[in-house]
Symmetry: none
DNA sequence: GATGAATGAGTATTCATTCAT
DNA sequence: GATGAATGAATACTCATTCAT
């Protein structure tokens, strides 16, 4: 069982890499098994269907990120740094992405969308918690926290996942974040470093 | 020529309806020609490929909306009503959508995305112009206008294209819009009516 | 009528060029009419079918070559020069071929074959006549003239239509020609200049 | 593996028969799978494309013939009989051809051509070897052996693959062969029996 | 656990030809 | 003479999935 689980994890990683670099639709089961060096039957022994593979791939990613985020939340870091940590853990690290801008390539819209939705679902409550902590500590001041957090995440995803954003985009985003959360001007300037 | 053009417009409308209701990928060329009652050859007489059809369908939509928006801008309406008009003209009218929530259905992600991108490209400059007008008239006060407008559009698209948004979402969005554009609280309350 | 004939000749030349440079099978009627700047209907006004076009294209070529060959035969030139002239008039001139080796390209096999067959049919009797003249004048000495001429033409076509023949190929061919026609060694050395 | 290979050989034979009797271009993949009683997917499991199938079909033929020819060369037969054997092994046996003159039918030009080219490539060196042997034994006397052999093969293919050759064609060919290889008159008369 | 042969519905695209105007 | 809209049969190829061994 251990062995089987391990094998499955490997397959998931391979599928993940291929889905991202070529797009889910453009990656055939044949491609995957060839890359993995296994037989068709073996693939279907581990996965019910190709779609389920995608689901599991995404689940795997989200899980890892949620875990990291959870650790940050329960740490002793000051609130701004917690936010910084969580937000940066969300963005796909350069090592994970085989190709620049891969996620935004048109053939990846489907996957990108699924990921974003699920990620938002997972991260909004976590970030909300931190914002509440921030309110208690006097950093922020606002109501409807989850709604505000969600909108910030939405804008962040849409704006900064692409490669062609400008310094002005960042400035406006920071301004927006501060005003939306009721923070003092300049409080969230640290975001700039995170995004660049 | 007249004849051919007319026919093409009809085909485009049929394709549009089908792409939206069943999704681009799930609509085969066979489906389209059957619905249109034409032969395969006729379809390819008018369109180079299925993808080109999608491109033209989207172009057609955008064109119409840009036209409407343009008229509103050059009208004598007060600034807030201009914004209201443009924003509401962007959202797909209920008559156009054969099925509730069609655009957000997963099989429509690709089309939805293409539309959103192109629509944003087209609408941001128009809305920016209006905001500038609003600044001159003392309604708003801000810099980086296109960036702010774009972010507002992004949030609006992402939040209100789905069906499951709440009153709180609207409130936060209004708050965000006012703060982002430097408007007085309550100025943009009219948005609520637009979205509901 | 004159006008129509002229038009048809133009179309034939265009078709000829296209068939040779892209291959008969790879040239669609659409390609031809686009190149010629005429409508589909016009094409079918002049040609019954695409295949008939090919037939006429080939006929046109052969006709021209047969005419040239005929003139040479009835001229006052010495026999070896007559042969030289006919053989060299058969080989597609460089100006006619838009692309080097076009006729031998795999997509042209069909056309090449049709041409070769028809050309052989046409040229064998003409050349046979010249060979007979050569016999009467003591240059050659053999029976079964048409068969011999046909074989020589066959080898010539197959060997020299390609681009990768050698000096040795030429030497052997000359040797063969002389022996086949019963000519004295060296008599037909002039062929070398013709082929090179 | 054994199983798969066997199946593939069967499919190749079926394809071979169909390509020859109906022509490569006129044989659709659908035709083949229907004849073979397999599913489309199975066909594409064994062959990458229709063209690759043709390539393999030809490869299979050539291979068989080369093998036979090789055996003959290394046998203890006298040189003339070796040549006879090789040449006759090249010509498609009556059993293989479902239809008289199939190879020369216009729809088969492409295949015929590919076969002829590859066959020539393969057979010329083998026959050259035999001719050299013949020279050593005093049967023949000539230089440029491969060139001569190739030309003889060319003429043989072109003349005798069709059905409408005459006794005179045979006589001229024998004369030509003897002279081209420097053999004594009558030495190669045995060819007549081979061809008829 | 693992294999790989077999499936077959599904899809986009091509192209010669016709014919009413 | 000329047009161009309309046709529809034909075709190669893909790919997720199954299952006996």
């Amino acid at each position: 069982m251990k062995k089987g689980e391990k094998r499955k994890q490997e397959l998931l990683k391979i599928a993940y890499r291929m889905f991202i670099s070529r797009g889910y639709e453009n990656t055939s089961v044949d491609d995957i098994i060839e890359e993995a060096g296994i037989a068709k039957g073996t693939y279907y022994y581990y996965f019910k269907s190709k779609e389920q593979t995608l689901e599991e791939v995404i689940g795997m990613m989200i899980e890892q990120e949620a875990e990291t985020a959870g650790k940050i939340v329960s740490s002793a870091l000051p609130v701004p740094q917690k936010i910084a940590g969580i937000v940066s853990s969300i963005r796909p690290s350069k090592e994970e992405l085989p190709i620049e801008g891969a996620l935004m390539r048109p053939e990846n819209i489907i996957m990108h969308n699924k990921i974003r939705r699920k990620l938002t679902e997972t991260v909004v409550p976590i970030l909300s918690e931190v914002v509440e902590e921030g309110i208690r500590e006097g950093f922020f001041s606002c109501d409807c926290i989850p709604e505000r957090v969600r909108m910030l995440l939405t804008v962040s995803n849409e704006t900064f996942d692409e490669e062609n954003f400008t310094e002005r985009d960042i400035s406006v985003f920071i301004d927006m974040a501060e005003k939306l959360l009721g923070a003092k001007p300049g409080t969230m300037e640290f975001i700039r470093e995170l995004i660049r």
